[in-house]
């Protein structure tokens, strides 16, 4: 559907306030196992949501059909739904901003046009490097282009594009059954360095051939960037989440200005960072902008969408999710922990005896307010002794309070990694953390 047609639907809507959010995703994805593509898909999906507010009663309807008649039908259904609602006295009206987000490199035509042969060639390269080492490759190579249109009856209109290309490689094999993982996430598919990812994964796989068991307990750890990104993502969901803060469900509730982490830790939400996945507007079509959340260990800011901000007499920080997801609350999608100055070697020198973690698996939240989570290490866990990486370890279960861990950071790496997370793409450096709590070992018997 064209923008002018959507504007017409808005202008003809009988509701006092009408909002439309439309997202079209074109996903091309190749999954591979044993270095062979087993799933090669093209998925074109459009989702359009109409939200109406009539006498402060809200109703919404979604459709995947964006033809004018279908959008009008969705509007009628939204109006029907609103009739059954009770008025929401806190409804502040719909947002409007004249501010234009800066030009961001959020979209690549090359990514959007990427043919299946390019992904197949990349996977053939993964196979070649794996065969050289005697490993089999498993993973995904995908490209996605998305178009967003957000408009409302207050005159706010935004239209923007994003893209992302993602390659992940897990090698398995060798005489001891090793496992090694690496990945790359970029806006432009041409920036994906297939050989670099594959070589890195192969190096880890070669190093994990013989894995020893480690007695659970508290250890100094080096968490590599992917492991840090995972914890950051969860902290965003259960901690920085604006609604959780507002409702007193978050660790950060009522803690503005308090020292909550080590002084060396600063965390921003930075939608403009072109090393991440830049994103100009939020789900209400309001401009996003960088926001410090933790500076030198001190909690600085709550995040808001228009509704929550109005409730607290503030302005939105540009963190609204699209209409269908707003009940989760405003969410930081571009978390970035500031890197330190230390090289990998310097981080290792800080560890007399400890554990190096490549990444985590299946993290579950045990206590959201206390930020206690559990999960496992995978695809490259190593013993560190006297500053050197030693033998590989069997995967370990951790049960850890994230905030407490971030209070005990004694080293920060000088480069950032990033990963797609269910909400956004956090970026983080490697961290050295004292007293990380491992509570189990993954062993068959």
């Amino acid at each position: 559907m064209k923008r002018e047609e959507l504007k017409k639907v808005i202008s003809e809507s009988p509701a006092e306030h009408t909002e439309i959010f439309c997202q079209k995703d074109e996903l091309k994805l190749s999954r591979f196992a044993e270095s062979i593509i087993h799933q090669n898909i093209s998925q074109e999906k459009t989702s359009l949501t109409v939200v109406v507010h009539e006498k402060k009663r809200k109703g919404s309807a979604t459709t995947t059909d964006t033809s004018p008649s279908a959008v009008r039908k969705a509007l009628e259904r939204a109006l029907e739904a609103a009739k059954f609602q009770k008025p929401d006295p806190d409804f502040p009206g719909l947002p409007f901003s004249e501010e234009i987000a800066p030009e961001l490199q959020s979209f690549s035509q090359e990514t959007s046009n990427c043919p299946p042969e390019k992904r197949a060639d990349g996977i053939a390269e993964v196979r070649k490097i794996g065969e050289r080492e005697g490993f089999k490759g498993f993973g995904t190579f995908s490209t996605q282009a998305s178009r967003y249109i957000s408009l409302n009856s207050n005159g706010n209109f935004r239209e923007w594009d994003t893209s992302q290309a993602f390659l992940k490689v897990l090698y398995m094999g060798g005489p001891g059954g090793g496992e090694g993982y690496a990945q790359d996430l970029q806006v432009d598919v041409n920036d994906i360095d297939v050989s670099w990812v594959a070589e890195k994964a192969a190096e880890k796989c070669a190093a994990t051939q013989e894995r020893k068991s480690l007695e659970p307990g508290e250890y100094t750890v080096i968490l590599e960037p992917l492991a840090v990104c995972e914890l950051l993502g969860y902290l965003g969901f259960i901690g920085f989440n604006g609604l959780a803060c507002n409702e007193g469900r978050s660790f950060f509730s009522g803690k503005i200005g308090e020292k909550v982490m080590a002084e060396s830790i600063s965390i921003f939400d930075d939608p403009y960072d072109e090393n991440g996945l830049p994103f100009p507007y939020d789900g209400e079509g309001m401009p996003k902008r960088p926001l410090p959340l933790v500076e030198e260990g001190v909690f600085k800011n709550y995040i808001y969408d228009h509704y929550l901000a109005a409730k607290e007499g503030r302005k939105t920080t540009g963190h609204a999710l699209p209409p269908g997801f707003r009940s989760f609350g405003p969410m930081p999608m571009h978390l970035k922990m500031w890197p330190g100055k230390e090289s990998r070697e310097e981080l290792l020198q800080k560890v007399e005896k400890g554990v190096l973690v490549t990444r985590f698996h299946y993290v579950g939240v045990i206590h959201p307010q206390q930020t206690i989570v559990t999960g496992l290490t995978r695809d490259g866990t190593f013993w560190i002794e006297n500053g050197e990486v030693g033998h590989a370890l069997k995967n370990l279960r951790f049960t850890q309070n994230i905030i407490e861990a971030l209070k005990r950071v004694v080293g920060i790496g000088n480069s950032l990694g990033k990963m797609p997370f269910s909400v956004g793409a956090p970026q983080g450096p490697a961290l050295v953390i004292d007293g990380f709590n491992f509570t189990g070992v993954s062993e068959m018997e």
Binding site: I37, N40, T64, E445
Partner: protein
């Protein structure tokens, strides 16, 4: 139908050895209440097609939404899907799919009350009454939800199948969060994270009696604030059906997916500790443990007549008297075991590629009862209601947390405990099972959001369970 047959024909003309197509129309209604206020009332519709082709041993798949404007574009999918299959073909050996008999059938969920015929007003009133019944001095947040879905799915294949299935899925749940200013606790009913779901009509929601149960939910949420912490150590563990369903899901349901065993989920959700040579050999559990995958149970969330390859639904023994018996398979993977597919391939909506999915993976009822299990416990805990879950990439080491627990001493319940957790390894855990409650305490639990695949597909699956007892389990692991 004729329009979609033409798409299949175009796929064959473009070079496909085999093609199948799903045309799906979906209608959804979701109501979410928070503190008695309807926070989200959403009505959704979508329709589209997904075309899968098999070319010389490789799959290609293309999907698109169908709108009033683009009906004629569906032919381009055939060329795109075949091109994708050819691009995937590097290094692939030609392979045969397991045979399936072409079917021409119709199936519709049996319901008593069409959930879409029940007025929004009535549903909202139900949630508001439940909220009122959950009110208490220490309750600071209540939520409730009612969800209905009607999915009409047409499956046609180049081998002659024409299968029309209509599924109604209905679910509801409530929960209350309590605080005393320091601690926060939660209780949910009938299950956590959105409640219980079934392939039934609105009668399923009525049977839950949300308003009556809301009072107990409030009481237990407040009671948990002053409860003792879960003890730490090794002891006897009794699991209630809701939590046991999740235990089956994570430590039995996922490891038996043959695509996962063969590595297709390796870089995402992981693999499995199981291998094909474990069939009829591995002691998965103790003699009292019997697990079946059963897609034929009327009303269960994971039931259907035919899977998304046109294979008819079946009941498959997974663990019989403790011994591992079989995997969940597809037409592509079953030949590895020299079998025919047992019909577990499903895709979520029209836009996704089908994967091997759990159907209803059930721990069969035993001969005991909850009272007998408690009576036979000198020192232990009874836990129920999912709160947190985590399991490793081989499905060996797990750790779960539940909303509530009860301390058991000398065969009697002694009091409520909070923040319970337990951890273990899959095989020792199931081998330590020494008692399972019987049919009268056995119930189906519907999980609407089992995650698997890339892009992630949230599938509706079911788990039948009663109560079961496990010995020498490590509990109270948290910090």
């Amino acid at each position: 139908m004729e329009r979609w047959k033409k798409v299949i024909k175009k796929a064959l003309e473009a070079g496909a050895d085999y093609a199948d197509l799903r045309y799906i129309e979906n209608e959804k209604q979701g109501i979410r209440a928070k503190n008695g206020k309807i926070e989200d009332l959403s009505l959704g519709e979508d329709r589209g097609i997904g075309l899968r082709v098999w070319v010389n041993g490789s799959w290609g798949f293309a999907s698109m939404s169908i709108t009033d404007d683009n009906l004629e574009d569906s032919g381009k999918l055939a060329r795109e899907a075949v091109a994708l299959a050819r691009a995937a073909n590097k290094g692939q050996q030609p392979r045969e799919l397991a045979p399936v008999k072409a079917a021409k059938k119709e199936y519709t969920t049996e319901i008593e009350e069409d959930p879409f015929e029940i007025s929004l007003e009535e549903k909202i009133e139900l949630l508001q009454k439940a909220h009122e019944a959950m009110q208490g001095e220490k309750i600071f947040l209540t939520t409730g939800n009612i969800d209905c879905q009607k999915e009409k799915k047409l499956f046609i294949s180049s081998e002659g199948s024409e299968i029309q299935q209509t599924f109604y899925r209905t679910g509801a749940g409530i929960n209350a969060m309590s605080t005393d200013g320091k601690d926060r606790q939660i209780r949910s009913y009938p299950s956590a994270f959105g409640g219980n779901y079934a392939q039934r009509g609105f009668e399923f929601v009525r049977e839950m009696d949300l308003v009556r149960e809301a009072e107990r939910v409030r009481k237990e949420a407040e009671q948990l604030l002053t409860a003792e912490q879960c003890p730490a150590g090794e002891m006897t563990l009794i699991l209630g059906g809701c939590q046991l369903g999740l235990q089956v899901h994570e430590s039995c349901g996922h490891p038996i997916e043959l695509d996962r065993v063969l590595g297709t989920e390796a870089a995402f959700a992981g693999t499995s500790f199981l291998t094909p040579d474990h069939i009829h050999e591995l002691a998965y559990g103790s003699k009292v443990v019997n697990i079946y995958a059963d897609a034929t149970i009327p009303g269960a969330l994971g039931s259907f007549a035919y899977d998304d390859e046109g294979v008819s639904a079946s009941r498959i023994p997974i663990v019989r008297e403790g011994k591992f018996e079989n995997f969940l398979t597809s037409r592509e993977t079953a030949p590895v075991l020299e079998q025919k597919s047992n019909g577990t391939m499903r895709a979520i909506g029209w836009s996704n590629f089908p994967l091997i999915r759990m159907t209803n993976i059930n721990l069969e009822p035993g001969e005991s009862s909850l009272q007998e299990l408690i009576k036979g416990t000198e020192k232990g805990i009874l836990l129920d209601m999912i709160k947190s879950w985590s399991i490793d990439d081989k499905r060996i080491n797990f750790q779960f947390g539940t909303e509530i627990g009860w301390l058991i001493e000398d065969g009697e319940i002694k009091g409520v405990i909070k923040n319970p957790t337990y951890t273990g390894s899959t095989l020792p855990f199931w081998r330590s099972c020494d008692g399972i409650a019987g049919q009268s305490e056995w119930k189906m639990w519907g999980v609407p959001n089992c995650g698997k695949g890339e892009p992630m597909q949230a599938a509706p699956v079911g788990h039948g369970a009663s109560y079961a007892r496990f010995r020498n389990i490590k509990v109270g692991v948290s910090r």
